[in-house]
């Protein structure tokens, strides 16, 4: 288990990424995953996209802690269910992590192991007993999951912080940008994150243009020292 990552370790991981990821990306094209756009059309709150392997559960629980959503089904253990509507998991956080374009697929087992190792340390320190039938992080209740990530992301020291932010960044990019999907298609098909934002719809050709964009009114006095070309002095 990797409880702490040194800079050397991180760079070593990066070097794995440099050599291993393109090969993995290539391999992924041989047996492509289901088209996430199709899932969006039929499964707007992500009922279909679950798995019970420990790595997936841990990464889903991590994603749900950052951007929580409703449980997909009553026995859903990865999603804590502290918020209504779809959260990061339903928005495809794991699809994004595994999307070849992110280039981090080879690191995900390490990420998941690091999260679970941190959960064991957190549980020991705070006198918690995670559900032994689940991966350690998944076995924590939401307040503990959140407190643990607060410690790692906001109060942690050392260079391993980079790892936690990288993983948090993946989750957020999945939700806020649908980073594994073309945006025009993702918006049209109701990607949960973009829908929650109220991301505008593109024109029919898939491009954005706003013909109405301005109040078209003078709304403040200009600075008295403004030059003739609108510049500060």
């Amino acid at each position: 288990m990797i409880a702490r990552l040194s800079r050397r370790r991180l760079l070593w991981l990066a070097s794995i990424g440099m050599t291993g990821v393109p090969a993995l990306a290539h391999a992924a094209t041989i047996d492509p995953p289901p088209d996430p756009l199709k899932l969006l059309g039929t499964d707007p709150i992500g009922l279909l996209g679950t798995s019970s392997d420990p790595e997936t559960l841990t990464l889903e629980a991590f994603a749900d802690t950052l951007i929580p959503g409703a449980k997909r089904f009553p026995s859903d253990v990865a999603i804590a269910g502290v918020a209504a509507g779809p959260g990061a998991v339903q928005a495809g956080a794991l699809d994004f992590m595994r999307y070849p374009g992110t280039g981090v697929g080879a690191l995900l087992p390490v990420f998941a192991a690091a999260v679970d190792a941190a959960a064991i340390a957190y549980a020991a320190e705070h006198g918690r007993v995670p559900d032994p039938t689940l991966p350690p992080f998944v076995g924590l209740r939401y307040p503990d999951r959140k407190a643990m990530l607060d410690g790692l992301l906001n109060h942690g020291g050392g260079e391993e912080t980079l790892l936690w932010f990288a993983l948090a960044g993946l989750v957020c990019l999945g939700y806020y940008t649908a980073g594994h999907l073309d945006t025009a298609e993702a918006v049209r098909r109701g990607h949960p994150g973009l829908k929650a934002l109220g991301f505008p719809m593109p024109d029919r050709d898939g491009l954005w243009r706003f013909s109405q964009f301005s109040y078209r009114r003078k709304l403040a006095r200009s600075h008295p020292g403004t030059t003739g070309s609108g510049q500060p002095q």
Binding site: A14, G17, M18, P22, T65, L66, I67, P68, V82, A83, Y99, G101, T102, G103, K146, L149, L153, L162, F165, A168, C172, L173, Y176, T177, A178, G179, H180, L181, D182, T183, A184, A196, L197, G198, F199, P200, P202, G206, L207, W208, R209, F210, Q212, F213, S214, Y215, R216, R217, L219, A220, R221, S222, H223, T226, T227, S229, G230, Q231, P232, Q233
Partner: protein, 538 residues
């Protein structure tokens, strides 16, 4: 004379404003110019409107350092392709700035008055447009109205945009799909090519060393990189030059020089020191739609006051009230309305002083269209220093667009106080009469900057400046630095126009220097300020 090594009169490293402008001026004067650019060469129709991770990251680098994270362009045209096109002149008090010992930081020769003619030339060449209130998008209107409500003035921001062609789509980070943003791809670079300059994309310069061919001073080694994965080298070469213009950007120029120091024999101490993130500080407001209507009097359609954060050009309005030389250094800053793509949505706290993740943040996200982000640009104190250079490149590429730099940035107490001052000013404006709620961008302890500067700066004092006032690297004749790294301090405004104006000013001297080195240039064809825009080849 024959040589088995490729030669050129001038090699320009980097093709952003700092590289494209000297490249054009030198090529127009008759020099053989080769431009080596680390990133790919995309044309207008190739720019996407997509947040898919492998679209915009082809041309944008996200560089993480110790204490600061930097967004920078990585393509032909450099940051001018991905920037938000604010075209502002640096206020006069910045040029007159003194260090803690009371010494002037900028060269004596540089004042706002002396640079104004070069600003004129750049504004005419790009060209720059002056937005009217009809051109300012809704978020800029809300900021202006909030400033007015709080007793402040607010101006439309001049932009390097063709306002007739602009669709206000808000995809500037991806490069402009409509050819409306006046990046280097639309002016200086095609003009340089028309005069014979050659642009080589996907060429990353690794070292600069003495040349072996008589008459040539510098040899540049480069690797070529795979267009699909910039981590993968797929070739390399050497090119010798009589004169070098270094404009790889403030995150790369000092690193290249550090790596070259053993080869060149010496390096000014200031190379890789005095880095400034331009004092960038982003915070935001969650606007109260009802108050925007009742207090600010705004309504964009029946029953809708604002609800338009993603609509428009990213930069619309700015208050100049705090750009006042009579104020204390820590209280002088530009406060500018700006839109950031949702890739930055991780950063805001969910509630004032609260968490940036979890249920409260999700609730904030649901009101995204009522957000208003504000960029403060304060006067920082040049606290960044680069460590030992990585084996290749400017940083370690962890992924195609994600990189780790050796830069370390620890803001001084004075810089932190300046940010506290700008935060307080923004809060006072957006919370007046409850029109909004001020929120910090708190997710990362790294400061975020899109404006890296000063890591190889010009100045009069050799102890604190890597380059002399002509932009020549001290101790290395014929090696000039003309990108953001040469800018001495934070500017209180977006830096692109100043980088370009300084590059125009430097180009005049560089062309003359090229002539003195035996390059066949017509120095009379080097335009004086105010002489007009790009000239076609004769």
């Amino acid at each position: 004379m024959t040589s088995v090594i490729e030669t050129a009169d001038v090699v320009v490293v980097g093709s952003g404003p700092g590289g494209a402008i000297p490249a054009y001026r030198l090529a127009a004067a008759g020099a053989k110019v080769v431009i080596l650019e680390r990133g790919p060469w995309l044309e207008t129709k190739q720019f996407s409107q997509s947040l898919r991770i492998d679209s915009y990251t082809r041309i944008v680098d996200y560089i993480t350092a110790d204490g600061v994270s930097v967004v920078a362009g990585n393509c032909v045209g450099g940051s001018s392709v991905v920037y938000f096109a604010a075209a502002l002149r640096t206020p006069s008090f910045v040029f007159d700035r003194r260090d803690s010992a009371g010494r002037r930081i900028w060269p004596k020769a540089l004042t706002r008055d002396s640079v104004d003619p070069w600003y004129d030339l750049v504004e005419e060449t790009l060209p720059v447009a002056q937005q009217t209130w009809d051109d300012v998008p809704y978020p800029g209107g809300v900021w202006a109205a909030a400033c007015h409500n709080a007793g402040h003035t607010c101006n439309p921001v001049p932009v390097a945009v063709d306002l007739d062609e602009c669709t206000n789509c808000n995809w500037m980070l991806n490069g402009c799909r409509f050819g409306a943003k006046r990046s280097m791809l639309l002016n200086y670079l095609p003009a340089a090519v028309a005069h014979g300059a050659e642009i080589r994309p996907l060429h990353e310069v690794q070292t600069i060393s003495p040349a072996v061919t008589p008459g040539y001073r510098y040899a540049l080694t480069y690797t070529t990189v795979d267009a699909g994965d910039y981590r993968v080298p797929d070739g390399g070469g050497v090119i010798e030059a009589r004169l070098v213009v270094l404009a790889a950007g403030a995150m790369a120029t000092p690193v290249l020089l550090q790596r070259s120091a053993p080869l060149l024999g010496s390096m000014p101490k200031a190379v890789g020191r005095y880095f400034s993130p331009n004092g960038d500080r982003v915070s935001m407001a969650l606007m109260d739609e009802a108050k925007v209507h009742s207090v600010l009097g705004l309504e964009r359609s029946p029953g809708v006051a604002y609800d338009a954060f993603p609509i428009g050009k990213p930069i619309g309005s700015m208050t100049y009230d705090f750009l006042d030389g009579s104020r204390h250094v820590g209280d002088r800053y530009g406060l500018q309305q700006i839109y950031f793509p949702t890739i930055t949505n991780i950063l805001p706290e969910g509630t004032p002083g609260g968490d940036w993740f979890g249920p409260a943040k999700k609730h904030l996200t649901d009101r995204w269209r009522s957000w208003l982000t504000i960029l403060a640009m304060v006067e920082d104190h040049n606290e960044g220093t680069f460590g030992e250079p990585p084996p290749t490149g400017a940083f370690i590429r962890v992924d195609s667009a994600a990189a780790v730099s050796t830069l370390s940035y620890k803001p001084s107490a004075a810089t932190v106080r300046a940010w506290e001052s700008s935060d307080a000013a923004v809060k006072k404006i957006v919370e007046k009469d409850g029109v909004g709620e001020h929120l910090s961008w708190s997710a990362t302890r790294n400061y975020l900057s899109a404006h890296p500067l000063a890591s190889c700066r010009i100045g009069d004092d050799p102890a604190t400046s890597a380059c002399d006032p002509s932009h020549q690297l001290r101790g290395h004749p014929g090696l000039f630095v003309t990108d953001g790294s040469s800018v001495p301090t934070s500017l209180c405004v977006n830096p692109s126009l100043t980088i370009a104006a300084l590059a125009e000013r430097a180009s005049r001297g560089i062309v003359k220097h090229a002539g003195a080195l035996g390059v066949q240039v017509d120095t009379k064809r080097t335009p004086p300020p105010g002489s007009g825009s790009l000239r076609r080849p004769r």
